[in-house]
Symmetry: D2
Subunit: 138 residues, 4 copies
């Protein structure tokens, strides 16, 4: 596993399915968001910390490709990689997999904004953790 990769597991909830019997396509954005939060936490960057610095990371752009459907109660793994870190933005590549099979791939561009929702530089405290691999878990 390279330093920029983390894996996040989840079980599909009943409420996340739709009448076609599969996970609704909007749900993957929720999964990918949870996986990015996990990616940052595993490197020591907690939401509360950077929100306290007045920095937020809303989604600016996203591309999603849906390859296979997921179903209720399946165990999925989301693989998340940081593929680009600029002064005002981060780009992640993410994949939702089931037993190694790709279900949905995403490319997500996050912009760094302040409490006023205007663009601002990524705080040094946050930028510093981005090159890290996962911290050892105590």
């Amino acid at each position: 596993m390279t330093a920029d990769l983390s894996r996040f597991e989840l079980d599909v909830r009943f409420a996340e399915t739709d009448l076609m019997g599969i996970v609704h396509h909007a749900t993957y954005l929720v999964y990918f968001e949870a996986a990015r939060v996990d990616w940052l936490k595993k490197r020591g960057a907690f939401y509360q910390d950077w929100a306290a610095l007045g920095a937020h990371l809303p989604v600016a752009e996203v591309k999603l490709r849906y390859k296979k459907p997921a179903r209720f109660d399946e165990r999925l793994v989301v693989e998340t990689r940081l593929v680009e870190a600029k002064r005002f933005s981060l780009r992640f590549a993410q994949e939702a997999l089931r037993s190694g099979e790709l279900l949905c791939a995403a490319e997500v561009l996050l912009a760094c904004v302040g409490d006023d929702l205007a663009l601002r530089r990524i705080p040094d405290e946050l930028a510093a953790v981005l090159g890290r691999g996962e911290l050892a878990r105590e």
Copy 2:
């Protein structure tokens, strides 16, 4: 139509169904909330106004009885009645109906809290509109 009653229409969205092909039971809380917002607006009480007064109305208790399922793209009507207004709380009775048939009934207790989420009296400006019927629409 009595003064305390308002009706709110909505169309069931695809994303609101689950794998049983029916509206997921948690969705009704979203419908009922939207109908209460509408009830207040029709009497001249806009969320922004009372939020500016530092008053919020989170749900403190709710009872739901599910009688019949709703399905994708059905037109539902939510009937909302204020059944009790106290100094710190409001109680609404709500019903989701399809062509007059009861699908789900709710009793919802809202507590009035401040920006700190502590209990506070309902502001006079808000209390004043509760006895009103719907305002005429321009």
Copy 3:
């Protein structure tokens, strides 16, 4: 208004916001889906009809660009255009607007699949309505 364009109105629900006080980015997929359902209905194509033909239109790819945040209780308009109709797929361009200001733009590719979720041709009955403008409302 050209034949391929339809407009769909909605009011932002409280439950659709997140802790940043804005509409959560996944919610736009729900809005855009509702607007496509409306687009098809306005041309005489009801979900029940083509589902009865064993045809479904899941999302295969989507690109979203978020330009401005939307907030609770705002009235949004979603403009939907069919930009490409092939034998197995449809491509829509959609925009969520507030008072004419662009909030979020989407490009959505739908694949036509059967009850078994395998690719199939778009049924003639459905293809026939795609070139239509909105039907007159009775």
Copy 4:
């Protein structure tokens, strides 16, 4: 831990909060549902098994009391107890806790229905597991 009790852990997702900065009240129904699915699985009853028997357990009634708000990224524990098993229904008592503090309490009545959504007896195969404690995990 008594035989009828199971614990289910979850982390609050960003998308589950609302503009008040707390977990939206409808979200708890999703949490409680996931915890009941987990309760059944820990006793050997998988959704796929009883769905294959043509048995479903939709929510017929629910009472919720909201005591304290939960916030983004908090670790919650849902405690689930079966408090009544009848021929056509099950009643669960559930609590969402944070570090032992009660946030939300629920009483949930499930009805057993067939594929046609009409009431039916709980299948023996399912009834048999209800008195069990959690199975040992391999």
